[in-house]
């Protein structure tokens, strides 16, 4: 996370304040958000706690957690799950066969979720089992990634840094010229990260039109 001159930023700007947090701060706040959403004491939530397993979260909790993290850190988190996005980018058959994940699919997941213990990714793993890997640490990774993207953002007009528009929680603008700026999209971040992983692993991208054709051919 890039925080060049945090002291110069007004404390009342939650957007800049979040960008200025160190990793420990992000972890602490993420744990607090998760604990509040799941009605647990912060002490019961660890970085390694899995959401669906250890913390017994339901799908509605996940929506609540993602929304609360976005509001808290002023970020835009991805919604579509990683595996679905991977099949969009690399095509269905290289990633999933029937209800099981292919070796390539597993390699993509491993590279994309470094916080998950290697042993979790067993060959022949089923599609619906992936979510069992998601831990509080996974959330922290994605939050940090989005905060990094926020910090790297520059005004298209004058290259100025972004700040929050006062009174508008999810709106940002340039600190120098005041031009409207847009929060980096979590979906775009996932796509660019997956493309990088694909390049590293030598999995070619299927262009969007081709992927669509594959998905709609009888």
């Amino acid at each position: 996370m890039k925080t060049t001159q945090p002291d110069q930023q007004p404390v009342s700007d939650p957007f800049r304040a979040a960008m200025a947090m160190d990793r420990a701060g992000v972890q602490e706040r993420t744990i607090a958000v998760v604990a509040r959403c799941l009605d647990r004491k912060p002490g019961e939530v660890q970085l390694s706690s899995t959401l669906w397993g250890d913390l017994d979260a339901e799908s509605l909790d996940m929506l609540d957690i993602v929304y609360s993290l976005e509001r808290s850190f002023v970020i835009c988190l991805p919604r579509l799950n990683l595996l679905q996005r991977a099949t969009d980018i690399f095509g269905e058959s290289p990633i999933v066969q029937g209800s099981a994940i292919t070796a390539k699919g597993l390699a993509v997941l491993k590279a994309s979720m470094p916080e998950v213990p290697e042993s979790f990714f067993q060959s022949n793993m089923k599609v619906h089992e992936v979510r069992k890997a998601v831990s509080v640490g996974s959330l922290v990774r994605v939050v940090v990634r989005c905060l990094d993207a926020n910090a790297a953002l520059r005004c298209k007009v004058c290259q100025g840094e972004p700040r929050q528009v006062p009174d508008f929680p999810m709106e940002i603008c340039c600190t120098q010229c005041g031009a409207a700026m847009e929060l980096p999209s979590g979906e775009d971040i996932v796509i660019s990260d997956l493309l990088r992983v694909g390049t590293e692993l030598g999995i070619p991208r299927v262009d969007a039109a081709a992927a669509t054709t594959e998905a709609s051919e009888t």
Binding site: D64, Q84, E92, S99, E182, T212, S216, T218
Partner: protein, 829 residues
């Protein structure tokens, strides 16, 4: 209402539909068989580029004018009271018009006076209608009550269109149907519940004819937002026609659609006597509750299995006679695999011999109307011997391994088919249809009906009221009044100085389930708590609770408009006008993704089922303030006819939300500072009762508080309210000498006079008792507080034959007669 015990057969004699596939039933059916799709890009977001949305939309402006003689002078776009109607109401009027003509009911010289309406419908404030006034309505992140009141005074239809119960009333009055007028609300199972309830009512002999079905139009901005934030909608589509892909491995959510289907359900002898054409026979209905989670089906599909099995059992037809299932098949990853697993569990090896299809692949999901159009389609499949296909089945999913009739319709001589519906909240419904051929009336039909109507008693009580959060506290405070409590600031600014809020209610200690504590509104929490007290006071065994039936009357609108304040404020542009572009870029992300779940009108029922693990048949009635007493009456009828042994019945409401406060204020009913002696103080609360077959209650030596002897329900236009109330009071009290009346006591000159006159007409020297001056007017809960009063007075020996009645805004009239449970009393039921 008849308490006869004969078993009647129920047939479909008319059908009408307005769907994304056609403006009538015939064109919808023809397009289904041709494999067409009704899903397109929609323009709900104006001319905006992103986000684009798809849906099954009806070109409402192209619909032909209404034709049936029963509503000759009224168009389809204006209500009988002269206000513009919402889309769901317009669609319903068109579908009903078609069904009425299809059944040739115009040719009937007189309608049976018990004939009624029973439909599924939704409720939702259409925020779009308020967008033009947004800059003046918003005060920071909140709605300004005074300016909103001024707007609603100018444009009264704004409040009117959020009132889903009004659609059934409109149909009742237009078609001269004076029997029950019920709106069922069970999310996506609504229409199936409505049809199931209508079917059961006709079969019991309550009436010979019902207009039943469903209508829905939830394509507005906030509805699309709500479902989309929940991740329920298909998003990975590139061609709209391909997005709804039930049972396909690449399915990723459902596609919203609007429309309506209405059916004429008729008692067989009545249909034959008038020479009606019969299209199919409804043979059985099954209902269950998952009691698991709000938006996730239980992975083993237990609730769905129970609905299908109990429907077949109800029809007395062997499972292996079923040849076709019109599946719920939403195209969400979880529903389709769970439904498949449930069909396998319910039908065993026979699952591989039956055909299943989801017509949602072509029409999308009509939500509260889905069960109606799907039942109509199933009836046509049996009649014409051809099964509609499932479109977009390209990639087989190992978890969906049945015969789904991919792409092309199939000829079939199957004689029995079922239609499934499963809703948000966990309510499941299944209807069984039997093919009808000339001469089918002569076929012997096996049924199980009790030889004698069962006697029904009350064995459990629970309440959360402004007087107290349990029965003990409520009774202790009965002599005091909650009506002098100061109103919350927002309400007080409207010159409404007092409000009967529930005090000292702690959801944290009253509700065990963590998710329920998080998502239930206060009003729904009262329901869960009051239901729990009733169950505990009845001392039922856990297995009896698990199999009990659950009947709930729910409030119409359970939503706080302030939920959207922040998002709408962020959507104003430089000119202070609402901008769709700003809404999708900045506004949407500020909306709580759970708001739709939090405002489900069936949340009280489903929360109660989840908290107390009640898996049995259920019905959620959303017909305005009479809903709770209607739920109570329905529970009585089910037990009396032997369909169930133990039922939990009640209701909940809060009239303290801005939209509702305005409704009562603008109608001149709420007490204001200017007129402190007129009208009622607004309040909130819930009350529940355990109803039980007397034999069962006696066998387990339960405390019996009172016996219910009769119920009656009628609907009228407001102008005929006095006659309506008198009619139900007469019917429920029959020939007996009642000794007390527990009524509404609204402190309004006309209403009070009507109650007094009705009492006088019924039996001289009887005053109407009411608790409204102590509890305030608590909507659905108030008639149930009357019931609680009557039960307690009966138990105490203070009265022996009380009558409880309610008459809301002059539309629904319900009466229930009780008597002391003294076992020495001779039975004269």
């Amino acid at each position: 209402m008849s308490t006869g015990n004969g078993h009647r057969r129920v047939v479909i004699t008319g059908m009408g539909a307005v769907t994304p596939l056609g403006h009538d039933m015939d064109s919808t059916w023809a397009n289904l068989l041709q494999g067409k799709s009704g899903i397109r890009l929609i323009r709900q977001y104006g001319e905006l580029t992103t986000p684009r949305h798809i849906a099954g939309q009806v070109a409402i402006e192209e619909l032909a004018p209404l034709q049936s003689g029963s509503a000759p002078s009224h168009g389809a776009t204006t209500s009988l009271s002269g206000l513009p109607l919402g889309r769901a109401a317009i669609l319903a009027l068109h579908a009903a018009d078609q069904a009425w003509r299809h059944a040739h009911l115009d040719e009937l010289s007189t309608l049976p006076h018990t004939a009624g309406v029973c439909i599924g419908a939704s409720t939702f404030p259409i925020v779009e209608d308020r967008l033009g006034h947004l800059s003046q309505l918003l005060d920071g992140n909140r709605w300004d009550p005074i300016r909103y009141a001024a707007l609603c005074r100018q444009e009264p239809w704004l409040l009117n269109q959020s009132d889903a119960a009004g659609i059934a009333s409109e149909l009742s009055v237009r078609y001269g149907l004076t029997g029950p007028s019920i709106t069922a609300q069970a999310a996506c199972t609504s229409a199936t519940q409505a049809l199931g309830h209508a079917f059961q009512s006709i079969r019991r002999g309550d009436m010979p004819l019902m207009l039943a079905g469903g209508t829905d139009s939830m394509l507005s901005m906030m509805c699309v937002t709500g479902f989309s934030l929940l991740g329920s909608l298909s998003q990975r589509w590139s061609e709209p026609e391909r997005a709804s892909r039930p049972f396909d491995r690449t399915r990723d959510g459902f596609v919203l659609a609007e429309g309506s289907a209405m059916l004429i359900l008729e008692e067989l002898e009545h249909a034959l006597a008038r020479g009606a054409t019969i299209h199919a026979e409804i043979a059985g209905y099954g209902s269950s509750c998952d009691a698991y989670r709000f938006t996730d089906m239980h992975p083993d599909g237990g609730g769905a299995v129970m609905a299908m099995r109990s429907a077949m059992q109800d029809a007395s037809i062997a499972m292996d006679r079923v040849g076709y299932i019109n599946a719920h098949g939403t195209s969400t990853p979880l529903n389709d695999s769970t439904e498949t697993a449930a069909i396998r569990r319910a039908f065993g090896a026979h699952a591989d011999r039956l055909a299943v299809s989801s017509t949602k692949s072509q029409m999308g999901h009509l939500l509260c109307a889905a069960g109606a159009i799907e039942l109509a389609v199933t009836a046509l499949a049996l009649r014409d011997g051809i099964l509609p296909p499932t479109l977009n089945l390209d990639f087989p999913d190992p978890a969906c391994d049945l015969d789904y009739i991919p792409w092309k319709p199939r000829a079939s001589d199957t004689t029995v088919a079922i239609s499934n519906s499963f809703g948000f909240g966990g309510q499941n419904g299944c209807l069984v249809l039997r093919r009808w051929k000339t001469g089918s009336e002569k076929n012997a039909v096996a049924v199980s009906v009790p030889a004698m109507p069962r006697r029904v008693v009350i064995t459990g009580l629970g309440v959360v009221s402004p007087l107290g959060v349990n029965v003990h506290a409520h009774i202790a405070a009965r002599e005091k009044s909650a009506c002098t409590r100061p109103a919350p600031a927002g309400i007080a600014t409207l010159d409404i100085p007092h409000a009967c809020s529930v005090l000292e209610f702690d959801a944290g200690s009253a509700i065990r389930n963590r998710m329920l504590r998080k998502i239930l509104t206060r009003a729904a929490s009262y329901a869960v708590s009051a239901a729990g007290e009733a169950i505990a006071s009845a001392a039922l065994e856990p297995t009896e609770v698990e199999t009990a039936s659950l009947f709930v009357g729910s409030l119409g609108l359970d939503q706080d408009l302030d939920l959207f304040g922040e998002a709408l404020k962020a959507s104003l542009d430089a000119e202070n006008e609402f901008s769709y572009e700003r809404y999708s870029r900045y506004g949407k992300g500020l909306i709580d993704p759970l708001f739709l779940v939090k405002s489900l009108p069936n949340a009280g029922l489903c929360g109660t089922a989840i908290e107390h693990q009640i898996l049995g048949p259920n019905l959620n009635i959303m017909s305005g303030p009479a809903s709770g007493l209607l739920a109570f009456a329905s529970a009585f009828q089910q037990i009396q006819s032997g369909a169930t042994t133990v039922a939990l019945a009640g209701g909940y409401d809060s009239t303290l939300q801005l939209e509702l406060v305005l409704t009562h204020l603008l109608e001149g009913r709420a007490t204001t500072g200017a007129e402190p002696d007129r009208g009622y103080v607004l309040g909130e609360g819930a009350a529940f009762f355990v109803l039980e077959d007397r034999t069962h209650a006696e066998a387990r030596q339960a405390t019996i508080y009172a016996e219910i002897t009769a119920v009656a329900h009628a609907h009228s236009a407001p102008a005929s309210a006095a006659e309506g109330l008198y009619q139900v009071a007469r019917e429920a009290s029959a020939d007996i000498q009642i000794d007390a009346i527990f009524g509404d006591g609204l402190n309004l000159p006309e209403e009070d006079e009507m109650e007094a006159q009705t009492a006088l007409r019924l039996q001289p020297k009887l005053a109407v008792r009411s608790l409204t001056r102590s509890t305030g007017y608590c909507g659905v809960a108030s008639p149930l507080f009357s019931m609680l009063e009557a039960v307690l007075a009966t138990r105490a020996g203070e009265v022996t034959r009380p009558l409880v009645w309610t008459s809301d805004h002059g539309r629904h009239h319900v009466a229930v007669a009780l008597r002391s449970a003294n076992p020495g009393m001779p039975s004269d039921v």
